[in-house]
Structures are given as C-alpha cells and as structure tokens.
Amino acid sequence: MKKTIQRRLLTGALVLMTALVTKPAHAVNYQALVDADVKKFQGYFRKEFPDVKFEDYGDGVYALDEDARKQWKEMEEFPPYELDVEAGKALFNKPFANGKSLASCFPNGGAVRGNYPYFDEKRKQVVTLEMAINECRVANGEKPYPGFKGDLAKVSAYMAYISRGQKIDVKVKSAAAYNAYMKGKAFFYGKRGQLNMSCSGCHMEYAGRHLRAEIMSPALGHTTHFPVFRSKWGEIGTLHKRYEGCNDNIGAKPFEEQSEEYRDLEFFQTIMSNGLKFNGPAARK
C-alpha cells in the first residue's frame, strides 16, 4: 500500500518523460500534463477525506484534528505573528542606503504573494518570494537577509498578510518550467535519508494519521500559509526552514534557503495546491 502510490506516480513520470523525448517540443502541452497531475493529486485527498472542504486544506492539520484545531483557534485570537507582520511592514518601507526600499521593487504595496513562485523563462529557474526579496536588496546595494528566519521571514510575513485570499495559480508553460516541476515532483516522491522516507509517504499516505506523537499534515495546502510562527521555533520562519527541519528529522541531507532543490520543491508543491488561496502567515505548533 505504501509503495503503490510512489511507484505508480514515478512510473507515470518516467512514461511521460519518455514520451516527451520522442515528441517535438512545440506539440507538448505542458500545462495540460501538470493539470492532470494536479487533478490526480487533489483527487487523492478528496477521496481520503470526503468530509473536509477543499478550501480548508490551507489550514493543514487543523482541518483534520479537532483538539489541535481548538488550540490553533486560541492562538488566532491574537496570533504571535502579528508582531512579525508589523516588524515586516517597517522593514518593507525602510529606505536602503540609496534611498529606495523593498517597496520600490514590488507593486501593489507588496501584496504580490499570489505571483510567487513562478518560473523565470529568461533565467530558466524558479523564483520564489523570498528570493525576490533578497534580489531586490542586492540589486540596490544591500546585503541579502540571512535565510530561514528573522528579517527575511518578517518581510515575507507582511507581504503574505496583505496578500491573503489571493488564489494559487502557478503556470507551467515551457519545457524548462516543466523540467523544474519534474525535479520538484521527484524530490517529493523520492525516498531519502537514513530513515528512507519520502515526503509523500508521510504527507499523503499518513496524512491525518499519527506518527509517534505527531499528526501528519496533508501535502495539499502545504505551501499556502507560509511563513509560519512555529511554537517549536518560538519565532517566525520560512517554508525552506521547514523543509530543512523536516529533512533533518529523517536523517536526510538538508539544503539551504533558496537552494535549487527547495525552490523546485516549492514550485511543485504550490502547483499541487492550485485553486487554494494564500492564507499566510500562520501559527503552527
């Protein structure tokens, strides 16, 4: 049962990749291929949890467990991340040495969460919000923020907060974009680390179930609500920080903030949540 989903999807991926090699590039509708994957992926969860509303997947474990949900609602009475959103707003508008600020790089007052991640066709790579924040700083003569937490997470929290409700609709239009998507997909379904586990093993097959004292969150909706104030961290942190911790937990090699591996994974995961809304920042255990 555990191996079936992985094997099926990996086989499907291999079949598709073979098909791509033989077909002329202009004839392949990459978006259609991706949409088929999304339908299958989301269909898996609809079947597993028939009583959970699609929109609620953005709340992760709290859509599946009542006691945990109550505690989360209590935190939401006055969420700890409100302090970070305020700090992030100040940082967003703080002038650089050259007089510009992060506000100069992002339209709409910074309410652009819905535009990320996207595949940059010119540079042939996935661009995430955190990457764009630091690229803006570097382009204006400032040092990039260190990864995982602190100011980077606070600015991201502010931009996520004012973008709440924006729909997730990540596009895959080219062979290069599809390539990045497939890399992220392979990461998600591939086994890794000393414990030889995959993201899908815990977050699809064990979603909603206990693994020791933890309830596994469903992969659908994973990237909608970042950055998060994790009670465990006692502070706000980025999606890539969460990836790092998770890889570390299973004895697998962790990657850096904004590494290609994590950007491709974020790309894949966000696409799998197409149709949901961005609802960050969030409080988590």
Partner: protein, 153 residues
C-alpha cells in the same frame, strides 16, 4: 463579584493606599510580587505561600478550558473562569514546572471573573486553579497531556 472596596483592599495589598499607588504609578516596580509563592518549587508550598493556611475545598464552580493534548508545551492556551460569588483572586498552578505557580489574577470589582492566557508546561501534568472568596479557597484540577515540553527542549 460586588464586594466592598475595603474588603477587597484587605485581601491584596493590605491598604487603600496601595491600590491608589498601583493605579497612579504604573511605570514603577510595584509592591507585592508574590516572591515566595513564585519561587516555591512544590505545588503545596506555592499555594501556602500565596494564600497562607486558608481551608481549601474542591469546587465544580471553577472552569478550566485547556486542550486535552497540548500541541506544544511552550504555548498552552488556557482560560479560567468561575461563578463563585465574591471571588477576589484566581491563580493557576502546575506541578509540571520547576516553579508551579504560573499566574495570579486579582479579580477587580469591574472585571469579569475570567481570564485567558498562554502558559508553559514542561510535561504532562495537572493544571490546578484556585479561587479565593472570603476566607475560603476553592480548587479544581484538570490534566493536560503535553507532547513536547515547553521549556526550550
């Protein structure tokens, strides 16, 4: 709930002057942080340091709203309330922590006898809430399971 100011003052700071000081000088270090009670490392000692030797009885008129299984011991959301008339103080204790006394809330005349806060619990343990009304103490106990301790572990 509606007790006379004089009786109320007797129970917290011992004089009307103290209450005026509290209200007028909020920026200064205030008197009466129950040092001994917060410093006690045993539940019984903390209760005794806070309330002296007043008689305690169990009560069903105190409510504790807390999770069954706390997601994280560093942030356990708790709401305590009571319907006991004439309550002047409600305090929360837990033997989960090296310092069992967590918080003490004086129920002011215009305040509803209910407070919510987030507390730390180092491990699975009881939450003990004590309410003082007149010369008596009332107690309720409730277990909270903790999966990850809240003391930085």
């Amino acid at each position: 709930m509606g007790i006379s100011r004089r009786n109320f003052c007797k129970t917290i700071a011992g004089s009307a002057a103290s209450v005026a000081v509290l209200a007028a000088m909020p920026g200064k270090l205030m008197a009466n942080w129950s040092d001994k009670a917060f410093a006690a490392d045993k539940l019984e000692d903390a209760i005794a340091a806070k309330y002296g030797s007043l008689p305690i009885e169990e009560s069903t008129a105190i409510q504790i709203k807390a999770p069954e299984i706390a997601e994280n011991g560093a942030f356990v959301p708790v709401t305590i309330s009571t319907t006991i008339p004439g309550v002047t103080n409600m305090s929360i204790f837990t033997p989960a922590n090296f310092s069992p006394m967590v918080a003490s809330v004086d129920v002011m005349p215009r305040m509803k006898p209910e407070v919510s806060l987030r507390i730390r619990m180092a491990k699975t343990a009881n939450l003990v809430v004590i309410a003082q009304a007149g010369g008596k103490l009332y107690r309720v106990t409730r277990e909270v399971k903790v999966t990850i301790g809240g003391c930085g572990g």
